[in-house]
């Protein structure tokens, strides 16, 4: 069973629909105890970093996610669910502490060269880690769907799985051991996104 963390994230239903379309056994989970029997966890997210962290904290899911990650089972963070893996955000007035699984700040696009912020739309990924299991059968240069103003800057460059260019080049996905995370929305990225989720489902079933 894939546990989909239900803390009111806007893209919860889309992620659930995409996983079900792929035939996955997915369950919405709102309590820490429900993570025990999960084979893998998906942490969705869209919107503000602090809202996400506070909602997770309130449901005592922050610590539960840390414990789940430490157990070595596959974990996938999407968009704000990716940013939540880091220490802190530079979002306006942010004071929430993230999961702190990885070091580095979550920063905002500079908007240089007149680029519009948020970045909304389809952009390309240049894959650094072609050995990353969730990128199986996904070529470098593929387009995926982004909606965000912020992105994490991992201190440890070796965890960067792919990069995207939007005024600046940023880490659009990371991978370390059992933890995978994407800044883009695989649930909205048509065939490429479904392939990525299918790859994650396969990991969950191992």
């Amino acid at each position: 069973m894939i546990a989909l963390i239900d803390y009111g994230a806007g893209n919860l239903h889309s992620v659930e629909k995409a996983l079900r379309y792929l035939g996955a056994d997915v369950r919405r989970v709102a309590r820490p105890s429900e993570l025990k029997e999960a084979q893998s966890v998906v942490l969705p997210g869209v919107g503000a970093f602090d809202d996400c962290i506070h909602a997770l904290q309130k449901q005592e899911l922050l610590e539960a996610c840390r414990e789940f990650i430490a157990s070595g089972r596959p974990f996938l963070g999407i968009c704000v669910g990716y940013q939540a893996l880091f220490d802190r955000s530079e979002e306006f007035n942010s004071c929430a502490a993230g999961l702190g699984v990885f070091r580095g700040p979550v920063v905002k696009f500079s908007g240089r060269d007149g680029l519009k912020v948020p970045q909304i739309g389809w952009n390309q990924i240049e894959i650094d880690r072609s050995d990353c299991p969730i990128f199986r059968q996904i070529p470098s240069g593929s387009y995926v769907y982004f909606v965000h103003s912020f992105y994490p800057q991992p201190t440890d460059e070796s965890i960067v799985a792919c990069r995207t260019e939007y005024g600046e080049t940023f880490a659009s996905a990371i991978w370390k051991d059992n933890v995978y995370a994407t800044q883009f929305h695989p649930e909205k990225s048509q065939k490429v996104g479904l392939q990525l989720l299918q790859n994650f489902v396969a990991l969950s079933n191992n």
Partner: protein, 257 residues
């Protein structure tokens, strides 16, 4: 590089996709039936559409209920961004559509009547969810006026300043629809599209007037639009979404192929 988007628009009336010729005609029954929205959506999905817009042209309670059903069924089969517009007047209306599977809601007359709805929607659901659609008509050499109620009612507002204000209130995207060009297939209004795009820091979707592939290229290049929205040319099979994108790619416009 961020791709320019090609967005088919589906006008839904009583659960069917229809197409009027120009503003206001739909209400007079001058509609051509195009087909089932879910089947059309799946077809455009397969052709590589970057996004889809569903517009409830009845804008009635009955129409909204039908639309919820349409969006729910589309979201089970199409894994791409979906926008819903038409008759959305309250935060509750927005919530219902987002829950049904929409990623964004598009508001027009309701935002003009109550601009604070933009701010409330952006605060509750995030700016990325709130699209403000503007129907603009050229009323002078240098002036475009905003019309409400499907292009029937003049508001006295100037289009670019309304776009700026909407973005200031939290709109994450602007759809700029030219009343003069809509349904004519004679090309987009490049001038007002460019002025709007240069005035705001969020994406601008050009709408109204697409008749040829060259029109699409022009509004993205000269009109500085971030996306093109079109209905008739897709519905009546003149061009597929993939044909449009291949053409744009030949013109060195970044598109997702």
């Amino acid at each position: 590089m961020l791709a320019k988007r090609v967005i088919p628009c589906l006008d839904v009336h009583d659960g069917q996709v229809t197409r009027g010729v120009q503003f206001g005609r739909a209400e007079k029954g001058e509609l051509r039936n195009v087909g089932d929205p879910v089947e059309l959506a799946v077809r455009y999905n397969d052709q590589g559409a970057d996004e889809m817009v569903f517009f409830d042209i009845t804008a009635s309670a009955h129409g909204r209920a039908t639309m919820v059903d349409v969006i729910e069924r589309v979201a089970l089969r199409c894994f791409m961004p979906l926008t819903v517009g038409g008759g959305i007047r309250t935060l509750e209306d927005m919530q219902v559509m987002l829950k049904a599977g929409a990623d964004k809601v598009s508001i027009n007359s309701a935002a003009l009547a109550n601009p604070d709805l933009i701010r409330q929607g952006a605060e509750k659901f995030g700016s990325q969810c709130i699209v403000v659609s503007i129907d603009a008509k050229r009323v002078g050499p240098d002036r475009w006026e905003v019309f409400s109620h499907g292009g029937r009612k003049p508001t006295g507002l100037e289009a670019v300043s309304w776009a700026r204000r909407a973005v200031g209130l939290g709109a994450g995207e602007i759809v700029l629809n030219s009343i003069d060009a809509d349904g004519t297939k004679a090309g987009f209004d490049l001038e007002i599209t460019r002025r709007t795009s240069e005035a705001v820091g969020v994406p601008v979707v050009a709408s109204g007037g697409a008749g040829t592939l060259e029109h699409m290229a022009s509004v993205l290049l000269e009109g500085k639009a971030d996306a093109v929205l079109a209905a008739s040319i897709f519905h009546f099979g003149e061009f597929t979404v993939s044909e449009v994108k291949r053409f744009l790619a030949q013109r060195n416009i970044p598109v997702r192929i």
